[in-house]
Structures are given as structure tokens and as C-alpha cells.
């Protein structure tokens, strides 16, 4: 019986060995990626939503159904919550075939609807023809698809995915990601994807929530979180490395632009945000806002700060190459950026280059010190 899609609201608080301070919302049809390093509590959050873990305090609400309310003593069983959970190692029923695995989760339907639902879902995850195989006769990617079909079999109100691509090889991962992306567009329920892989999150998610030591630090569209992190910690968790300390030197009247002092230089910024003159800040320039004048001149169209630097390292990433360029006296004064490997071949290690910092990319955050 399809139910009306409802948003999921989750608040979890807990001290102790597994600390939690989580606030997330996920709307119907939205894919929220819960991103954080291992041990950040991602799986605990998913288990709490599924009803497999009872946190000390908080509330979990799906539409007008309260699944968990510590204050009111409400704890709805996992059976009654109707969540679809794809476990990290899939946790398929090893004694049942692919079809039986899915059918067992569709017991809210009577035959022949139940069999039709299971067969339909297996076809939807491109497993037609493999219905009669048991998990040990399936590849990693095929098992993941069975797990996904099983999670959807009971017409869940929310789909939860725990690192669903971690147990498969890279080629399979790319294919499964594309399939999930397609599936996501056809599902009208909230989807929460737990991952430590930023690229995965940015590629699939409508919104990202950053989790660190059990705490949601920031959530928003991937580009927002990547380009405008609320703190240096979030910036680092988002994989940013071009993070420096500076002082706000000048703020324009409209606060739309200004300059910051970094070492002996004054650097143009497109916006100073809420910071005032004289305030110490941590500033970030994402790698894609750093240009190498030798290979892609900024052409003066945008506001840009040019700095001389010395190329100290190349790291090949396939078609892209990561360059490390030292731009100051201090060993920590290095900028990282990626350019096409084709262009990187023209550069020599140790050569002096000019880097341009695009003012629109510079983002100010509260000082870490």
C-alpha cells in the first residue's frame, strides 16, 4: 500500500561513549548524504532511524508518525517503522534466493502481489534472470542490488543506505552509483546515504550533512558546504587543503568586497561576510579557484590576486594532476590545485610559476586560533 511521502526529521542527543548531537531533515525525493570520517557516528544515526539503536535523547518523526521520542518514552519497533535499510555488508538471508530475500520483506502484501512486487523490484535493479540464485552465487555488486531491492520491498517511508558502495570494486561502484542516481529520481521518499567518500556524496546528494564525533556541523547543498564551510574543521572534512590564517584589513561599505592581509600581502576577497576590520579570520580558497597563469591565464576578467610560487610536487590522479606550490617563506604556505595532466607535462618540478587566487572563491571563517 503506497503511502504519502513524508519528510523525515531527526534530532539525536547523547553523551558518553557514542556521543551524538545530530539534527537532520530529509524531504521526500531528496537524497541527503551523511558524510564523516570513520567513527563519526554515521552508522549509529542510521541505526537509530531504523529503530535498531535507542539513543539517550531526541526525536525521530516521519510525517505525522513519531518513531522515537525520548521525552515521551516513545520507541516504535523497527518492524513498525517501515524503513528500508541497506546494510554495509548487505546482510542478505544466506539460505534464501534473491527472489525469496526480497519477498520476505514484502509480507505486507498478499500473493500474487507479493511475488509481483519482488520480481518487479529485482527487474528494477537490473537483476532479472538471477532470481533463483542464493547470495553465495552472486557477485558483490549483485548482492548490493538484492539488498537494495529488499530494502524497497516493504514500500518504506525512508530509504537508508550504509556505505553501500564500499564492498565492491571501482568499476562496479561507478555503475551502481549511476543506477542509484537513476533510482533516486524515481523514488518519492527521503533517502539518507551514509558515506566517508566526499566525491560519492557530491555526485549523488541533493544535500550533504557533515558529521564529526557524532555532531552534525553543517548541512546544505554540496556546493554550499564545499565552498562556504562554517568552520575550518568543516572545510578540512570536505577535503579542502588551502586554508590559512589572516586578518581582515578592509571592508567595503556594502560588505560586498574587501581585502585581507596574509603574510605581507593584501588579498582581494569578493565578500567579507560578517567579519569586521581588524578581525582575525581563517580563510579558504578551494582548489578550483586557484589558477595557474602559465596554463590558464586569468585574463584579467575577474578580480584576481597573483602570487609567485615554486612548484614543489606533482601527484598524478589520472587525467588530472595535483600540483603543490609553495607561495611563502613558511613551509605551511603551500597552495594545491589540479590541472589537466596534459598541461602538467609542460611544467618542471622546482620551476617558478605564477598562481592566481580568484577573489570570488575566497571564503572567510572564524579564526581557528
Amino acid at each position: 500500500m503506497p503511502t504519502k511521502p513524508a519528510p523525515l526529521l531527526v534530532t539525536l542527543r547523547q553523551a558518553g561513549q557514542i556521543p551524538l548531537d545530530v539534527e537532520i531533515t530529509c524531504n521526500p525525493g531528496e537524497l541527503l548524504a551523511l558524510v564523516g570520517p570513520s567513527g563519526s557516528g554515521k552508522t549509529t544515526v542510521l541505526r537509530s532511524i531504523a529503530g535498531l539503536y535507542r539513543p539517550a535523547a531526541g526525536r525521530i518523526v516521519s510525517g505525522d508518525q513519531v518513531w522515537f521520542d525520548a521525552a515521551a518514552g516513545t520507541m516504535v519497533s523497527p518492524q513498525a517503522r517501515a524503513t528500508g535499510l541497506v546494510f554495509q555488508d548487505y546482510a542478505l538471508f544466506p539460505h534464501l534466493t534473491a527472489l525469496e530475500n526480497v519477498k520476505l520483506a514484502a509480507r505486507h502484501l498478499d500473493e500474487p502481489l507479493r511475488s509481483a512486487q519482488a520480481a518487479g523490484l529485482l527487474a528494477r535493479v537490473n537483476l532479472d534472470g538471477l532470481e533463483a540464485r542464493t547470495p553465495d552465487q552472486l557477485s558483490g555488486g549483485e548482492r548490493q542490488r538484492v539488498a537494495l531491492a529488499r530494502a524497497l520491498a516493504r514500500d518504506p517511508k525512508v530509504l537508508l543506505l550504509d556505505e553501500p558502495f564500499s564492498a565492491v570494486d571501482r568499476t562496479t561502484r561507478e555503475r551502481l552509483k549511476a543506477e542509484l542516481s537513476t533510482l533516486h529520481r524515481s523514488l518519492e521518499i527521503p533517502i539518507i546515504l551514509v558515506t566517508h567518500d566526499l566525491q560519492e556524496a557530491e555526485a549523488l546528494a541533493d544535500r550533504i550533512a557533515i558529521l564529526h564525533k557524532g555532531r552534525t556541523l553543517q548541512s546544505g547543498p554540496p556546493d554550499d558546504v564545499r565552498l562556504r564551510p562554517v568552520s575550518a574543521l568543516v572545510a578540512r572534512l570536505m577535503g579542502q587543503t588551502n586554508i590559512f590564517e589572516g586578518v581582515v584589513e578592509q571592508v567595503s561599505k556594502a560588505r560586498s568586497s574587501g581585502r585581507i592581509r596574509w603574510r605581507e600581502r593584501l588579498i582581494h576577497v569578493a565578500t567579507t561576510g560578517r567579519f569586521t576590520e581588524g578581525e582575525r579570520v581563517t580563510w579558504l580558497i578551494p582548489a578550483d579557484y586557484v589558477v595557474l597563469e602559465e596554463t590558464s591565464p586569468s585574463a584579467g576578467k575577474r578580480q584576481v590576486e597573483k602570487l609567485p610560487g615554486k612548484l614543489i610536487d606533482f601527484t598524478g590522479l589520472g587525467e588530472m594532476t595535483l600540483l603543490t606550490i609553495r607561495v611563502g617563506a613558511d613551509a605551511a604556505d603551500v597552495l594545491r590545485l589540479t590541472i589537466a595532466t596534459r598541461e602538467a607535462r609542460l611544467l618542471k618540478p622546482g620551476s617558478i610559476v605564477t598562481v592566481g587566487l580568484l577573489a570570488e572563491g575566497i571564503h572567510l571563517m572564524p579564526s581557528e586560533n
Binding site: L52, Q79, T83, A91, L92, L104
Partner: protein, 223 residues
Amino acid sequence: MDWTAFALTLKLAFWTCVLILPIAVMLARWLAWRRFTGKSFVEALVMLPLVLPPTVLGFYLLIGFSPESRLGAFVATLLGGPLVFTFAGILVASLIINLPFAVQPIQRAFEAIAPNVREAAFVSGLSPIETMRRVEIPLAWPGIASAFALVFAHTLGEFGVILMIGGSIPGETRVMSIAIYDGVQAFRTADAAVMSAVLLAFSFAAIVMVHMLARRRSDAHAH
């Protein structure tokens, strides 16, 4: 060949298996998954009949079941008669002495089930009872079958404890092993030889079955 004793032995083995399996499944499942203080104590208690001389267990059961003891008197009023020297008495003794043979293989089988497979069943909407029926029992089945064969074979050969609390009453407590003993005592050697051969064949078949099931289980896990 004492056919009455043969039939009684099979009856005892059958009822022991039927009654012990649900108890052993619940106990084994509890011991496999629960962490609690005093768990080692409970496990030791379950294992005790394995090392205890059957005569010692028989002695305590005789005291416990005797209508002169408080427990025995209570049981006697409950059942309308004392347990000593009855089939019901040797059945209770058989259940106690077989507990380790039943619990061990089933507990190992439950321990081998990944916890998240049970959780997956809960999240799929299966109640704890349905999860047990549709997921846990099928997965633990080789262990349960092993337990069945072991208990059956072990009951066929049980001697000491039955002699202690049952004596040798034809049709009531005289099982094959006791009939063999009585036969030898009465110089009916040919009788004893036939019955011994029958017990040997049954026991061997049961052990072969245990091994076949164990092999099937390890094959299933090798994938």
C-alpha cells in the same frame, strides 16, 4: 532379543529428542547472543552432565524424586505418583543428562549467524517469532539436526542414571542397555550379543549422520 526393551528404548529416545529440542533451541539461542553476568555459571551448569558420573546424577535424582523428599513429594502430588521407577522418571533424567549434547551444537550454530542478518529481518518487518522461524532456525538447522542425532544416539546407550532411578522394570524402565546387562548377568549371552549389535548399528548410523551434517555445514560456510 528383548523386543519390549527395544521398543522402550526407541520410545525414550524419541520423547527425549522431541522434548529436549525446543528447550535446547531456546537455551542455546539465549546463551549464543546474550551477555549477562553469571553466563559462565549457566554454561557450566548445562555442561555438568557431560563430566558428572551418571551414578552421581542418578543418586541426586533418586533423592529428589523420592516421595520422602520435599521436592519428590511435590512432584508426586502434581503427577499423581512418584517419578522414581517410572518411564516419566527416566525421561526426566534423560532430558537432564542430554542437555549438553543438545545445547552445544545448536549454540555453535546460532553463534555463527551474523547479528545484522537478524536486524535485517527486523527492518524487513519480521517479528522476533517470524525471524526465528524464517531466518534463525533455517540457518541453525544443521546444528539442530546434529543435536537430534547426538541426543538420539546418546539416549540409546544411557545406562547408569536409568539403572539408578528406574531400576529394571520390563516395559517401564528396562531399556536395551539394561536388558543387555541383565542378559549377561543371567548367562543369556546370545541375547546380549544380538541386542549389543543392534545398539552398535543404531549408534554408528547416528554418528555418521552427525558427521555428514557437520560436513554439509562447513561446506555451506566455505562459500
